[in-house]
Structure formats: structure tokens, C-alpha cells
Amino acid sequence: MSSNAEWTMQSIQLIIDKLKHKPGAMLPILHAIQDEIGFIPDKAVSLIAQSLLQTRAEVHGVISFYHHFRSTPPARHSIEICRAEACQAMGCRSLEQHAKKTLGIDYHQTTADRSFSLEAVYCLGNCATAPSVRIDDAIHGRVSLDKFDALIAEHQKDMKEAG
């Protein structure tokens, strides 16, 4: 997941126009915008509202209801730690503490260099090989504290190489 600053009102309108004919087009549109830009800019709200004949309040209500949608640019990598029961049974509580300490941030926060953001997630469906962590679109199982550190180091190395 990376933030793409290159968006314009026109590019958002194009995304909306491609999908607005669908029944119940709101979620498909929000997903498409977030997939493209990395988040749903505030300025997109009125465009969506006009296109779907809804109020801005309704659109905002939908965006804020769902944990997945975000209104601010994401970090370069988003880390989601599963906090649900199967992962609890395999020590996710200490993994959360370790992750927060290692990254120096709490849930819903982003590191100062904008490399990582940290979110809680309630079940990644990887419950037989808990604890699980999702980094961007990749899910990792049996994440020991050492494995977590290795994953972070791997992403840091990639970012360094990419500049």
C-alpha cells in the first residue's frame, strides 16, 4: 500500500463514473479510490455525494463506519496485528506490546518517518498458525517476537534500497 499524491478531482471523478452505475455502488467506489490513492481524500466526499445523489453526511458516515477506510495518507507499510481469541491463545498480547515498543507507536499511529502504521485487526482467518500479522497484503503466520523483528528489518531494507 503506498500513497499516491498524484490525484486530482478529475481522476477521482473518473473512478466514480466507472462504478456509479452499479447497484449499491458506494463501497466499490470507496475501495477503488483507496486502492488507487491510498486513502479517501476529504475532497472526494462531495464528488461521491453528488454522483450518488446522497448527502455529504451520508458519505462521511459510511467512510467513518468501516475500519478499513482511511481519510489520511497511509504509511509506506501498514501493519495489522490480529488481536482475536485464537491469536490470544498463542501470545498475541505480548506480540502487541513488543510491536508497540519496537515501532515506538500505539495502535492507529504512524512512525515519525512514515514507514509503518500500526492497526489492530480482529481475525485474519489464519487461526491454526497463530499469532498472525498482516503487512500490506501479505499475511504472516506463527509470528514470534523474533519473526516480527525480522519482518520489520526486511521491509526497512527494501525501503532503503528503493530510496
Binding site: Y66, M90, R93
Partner: protein, 516 residues
Amino acid sequence: MSRRIYVPCDTTALSLGADKVAEAIRLEAEKRDIPVELIRNGSRGLLWLEPLVEIETAKGRVGYAAVEPGQISALFEAGFVNGNDQHPSCIGLVEALPYLKKQQRLTFARAGITDPVSLKDYESLDGYQGLKKALKLEPQQIVDEVKASGLRGRGGAAFPTGIKWETVLDTASEQKYIVCNADEGDSGTFADRLVMECDPFMLIEGMTIAGLAVRATQGYIYLRSEYPVAHRLLNEAIDKAYQAGYLGANILGSGKHFELEVRLGAGAYICGEETALLDSLEGKRGLVRAKPPLPAIIGLFGKPTVVNNVLSLAAIPYILDKGGQAYADYGMGRSRGTLPLQLAGNVRQGGLVELAFGITLRELMQDFGNGTLTGRPLKAVQVGGPLGAYMPASQWDTPVDYEAFSAIGAVLGHGGVVMFDDTVNMGEQARFSMEFCKVESCGKCTPCRIGSTRGVEVIDRIRRGNSADKNWMLLEDLCETMIDGSLCAMGGMTPFPVQSVMKYFPDELKARGESA
């Protein structure tokens, strides 16, 4: 002749490095100039063995468990492409493993054997036989077959599927819908995911048959956004089904019409509740609707709608192909057929276990699960997701059966079994149940929205020893209010795990306060 090598591509295998293993095999084979055909199959559901690499041999498929990319060169050196069964990673013929052999796989018959997005593989193992039979039947006859199977909704509510379909069939409307609830949010459950990642055509076929049965021409799979692999594989399978004429305006030249589309959720547990799911599909916040009216009569966009769980719809092709009675021959009492159970949490051999109803929880956890992964004594088990009770040792002889579970105040739900060893703090677990409800409540009804917040506070006071007795009574009262007064199962069942801790592990809820 090139060797067939299978490397699974489901989320669990990928989460343990299957892509890197597959790439390492490709490179190593190239380097050694050994011709191999690399197939990305689905998972067998023996998840503790992932990545489980299989080699096709004259005797059958030989497995190598928990393979790591760094091992590949040595494995080639040891002759694993020829199925060398002397290697320590080798577990012999996969289909001879007791874990698999002892199962009764009807729904998961193909899982792990086939390439999930190969229509040819699907068709070669009974795929689309059910639909071909359904195309020759009248809608009522299809509904009757499903009624005869005794299938009950596998999402958790266990409502008879045939009766739900009949209601939709009998409700006149120009437009009707089939909605698949693939918002598998319960912790400890992954059977829906495995269906979609390992055998997606089965779900597509089941939904198509449902469409024929109730005269619905549009289907939606409401998939949770936490399942990116399932999303990709489902879309690929749907494309192929359209190309082959299994979906669209003229299914296999029959003149019958069914369209199918995947819609992504956006991280809201409540959208697994069927009416909240419908609101979400309509593009709104996922708020629970009051029932009645039933979705079967006034559902998606106000039209009659079948809302079924993935596993219910996935059972349909078998039922239409082999007959309702063949399915009903499995099971006990009013729980007919098989249930795909999921062993999760602190378990040595976690995975998918599909069995006829009737096995006891203890047999499941010992014979299949082989105890806890940590090797410590098992202490509690939560069955049926975050809204299910924590069951103590005295209840582990309960047979897996909807009625037997509800008789002791437990729920079978979607069949997830989460095991905890003796290091678990049950007070902490009770608190989490309320905390989870607080995060995930849709907010429409007061007992759930406010009750969960107050629940966390009251439990904190009890655990701190702050007027513990008075607060204990208050918590009992709050639980009853939530159960009786909530609009849906979210608020109405959140107290179940809390009450089970109060009843079976009371000291652990209080212990902190006493020692403080």
C-alpha cells in the same frame, strides 16, 4: 517425463512462506535441469504441516511437511523429486495420514487435491454435476432436494436452508437475489476461506443452483476485506465460469440466467450479521435491521433474498449431485450431514476437520488436535467464535450437535474451536468479549452499544476488587439486559463468554482484586 510438484497457495501456506518455497523449487529444478511441473494446489487443511509440498509418484502423492525455502537444495540432493520417503521431512502418502483418512469429507472432497482455479480439475472430480442435474429440475424440486438433505445454515444460526429457499421461491417478485455471506469474522474459523481459496467453483456452482431454485438471476458474494487471497482466486474462478458458460444469460445453453459478483466488505464484524450485511451491500453503514420482515421476503434492495453462509452454499452441489438423502445419511438427531470444524489457537495439529455431527469435543481436540502446541494442559476451549461460551473440562464430552450444545448454554456457531492452555487468564478473556463488542457494535441498539462499554468498566472494577460483590451482581444484570434487549446476536450473545467465565472460572475474574 516431468515430475508434478504441488505447493499450496492458500493464505496459511503463504503465511508460512509457500511462495518462496515454490520459487526455490523452480530455480533449483532449473539449475539441475530436472523437468518439473509446479502446481499451486489448494490446502488439504492440515494446516500445521504447511507449507506441505507434495510430489506425485506411482504410489500416490508423497508429502514433505513444513518445508522452508532454505531446505530445497538439500531436498533435491536427497532425491525428493522421486518421492524419497526416508527423508526426515517426508510424511509419506498424504492421503494415508490418519488426520485426513478419518475425516468424512463431502464439502472438502477436492480441497488440496486440485488447482483451485482449474475448471478442468474441478470437472474431473464431480464438479458441476449438481448444476447439470438442477438444470433438468423445476425450482420446487431443487428446494425439495435441499429440504430432504436436512441442511441447516452453517453460518451459526442453523436455520433449515430448504425452508429459507422455499420462502424466497414462494414470494413473487420480478427480481430476487442470492447473497453469500463470506464475512467470516469469527476468530478460530477459516472454513469459508478454505472453500474460497481451495475450491471456489464449488461455491459458484452452489450459488448458481440456489439461483435456479428460487428464480433469482443475480448473486453477490459479500467477502471480508481481510481475505485478499480469496478475493483474487474467487474473481479468477468467476471469470472462468463465465467463459465456460456456467454463468451468464444462458447457462450451458439452458436459457437460464445467473450473474455473480464479489463485493468487498471493509472491516466490520457486524456485517457478518445478515441484515447489516444487506445494508452494507446497498452501500450504507452496516446497521442491523429489525426482523421481521425476513430478508427472504424483504431483503437486498427490498427484494426477496436468500442469504446463506459459504459452507451452506458449498454443500449444495453434493446434495444435488448425490441426492438429499445421501447427505442426510450423515449426522445425528436434527443435525444432518457433515460439519467442517476448525481447530485453532493453542493446538498442535490445527486445521480443518470435516466430520458427520456426533464426535465429542474431547475426541476432536485429542485425536485430531493432539493437544496443545505448548504441551501444557488444556484449560478452556471457546467454540463458535467470540460470541461462544468458554467451555471447561467438564463439558468436553459434549457431542458436536446443535441441540447438545445449546442444551448446556454453548453454541456450535460456525464450527471454530479455539483451544487455550493453562496460562490463559480467564478474567482477561471475559473483559475482551465486552471490549470486542464495544469496538464492533453497529451502535443501533442501546444494550449492545452502551452495555458493552459499561461491561468493560464493570469487569475492570471487579478485577480491581472495587466493590467486587456489588459489581458482580451488576454484571449479571447487565448480561441479562444485553441478552434480552439487543437487536441481534452481537449484543445478544456477547454475554455468553462472559457468563461462562463467571460460572466456571469465577476465581479468575475475582483473583486480581483479592491479590491486589
